[in-house]
């Protein structure tokens, strides 16, 4: 499985899908996050592999 982590929440998706599909599946707007894997930024078309841990960094701030 692929694990996606946003703040203190964890999500799991099946391997083989793109990052964009994974974000759509877990209902996260691609515009609102930056995805990193092993410290490197990855893009929407990246195919996620079994065992991947993707850290999602929220980009929205303000008040």
């Amino acid at each position: 499985m692929v694990k996606l982590v946003l703040r203190n929440k964890e999500y799991e998706v099946k391997p083989g899908m793109t990052l964009l599909s994974a974000l759509q599946k877990i209902n996260i707007l691609p515009e609102s996050v930056i995805a990193t894997r092993e410290g490197e930024m990855i893009l929407d078309d990246e195919i996620l592999k079994d065992g991947d841990i993707v850290k999602l960094i929220a980009v929205i701030s303000g008040g």
């Binding site: 707007l29 691609p30 515009e31 609102s32 930056i34 990193t36 490197e40 930024m41 990855i42 893009l43 929407d44 078309d45 960094i57 929220a58 980009v59 929205i60 701030s61 303000g62 008040g63």
Partner: protein, 320 residues
Amino acid sequence: MKCRKCGNKASVNMRQHKLALCKEHYLEWVPEQTERFIKKYEMFKHHEKILVAVSGGKDSLALWDILTRLGYQADGLYLGLGIDGGINYSHESQRLTEKFANEHNLKLHVVDIEKEYGQPIPVLSEISHRGHGKPCAVCGLAKRHEMNRIARDLGYDVLATGHNLDDEAAVLFGNTLSWSSEYLLRQGPVLPASDGLARKVKPLCRFYEREMTAYSLARGVEYIYEECPFAEGSQSIYYKELLNQLETARPGAKLTFYLRFLEARNRGDLFIEKNMERAHLHSCPKCGQPTSTDDLCSFCRMINKVNSMPAAVLGGEDIA
């Protein structure tokens, strides 16, 4: 996805520009673009002294980093707001700001609101009964006041803030929803200096918030990731989320929204009734209906165009 400049694997994709770049070229592109906007909007020159308002967040630290890389004389100003929120928010943001300043050998002014005015922001808000139970209004007021005071007292030519395009679009969206014409007419990348008020500039106003996050990550800038405890559920965050939904469906929507607004404002098209009077209407020489053009009205031009087409284009039948 490949970097447009070198063909290596891209790290950042900006759909609104149809531009993907690798980390190295992205880190070159951001300062180049910032310099372009500084010149385009006539924000400041290299000989001027700049005070950068730094909060410890990604945008303001990125701005300080970019201006320094571009060779500007940029000092920092950190305002200690006294917000804890169970996460040591102000303390941590100050620590990260000082760490950045030390690592880059930059000058940082620190003003502690409690030391200056006797109480931290949340208490000032509570006592003054401003802001409907949230300290954000008092916080904004105090920040504007103190930033201007320090810029003026210490002789800086200009005050720079890290507002990005999402910040600007969210403010614009809010002011448009309420048709706050005074605020709309004042919004822009530069607020010129006036009596007692320092010039204020927003060099990052054309970068998406996402791009600033990417810049900070790529540069290894350590910033406070936790949100201000009082920002949760705020209107500006809600507007940003709405605009991001729009952006996902229509790449470039946020940028267009902001840039078209600036263009309209600069042309003087906003909220000026006399423009309506200036637009004199003529009678269409063919149908006699009013039109803003000197010649045929749009409808008659369209009908003329249709009638001038060969019958084959119209489906082979003569429509006459």
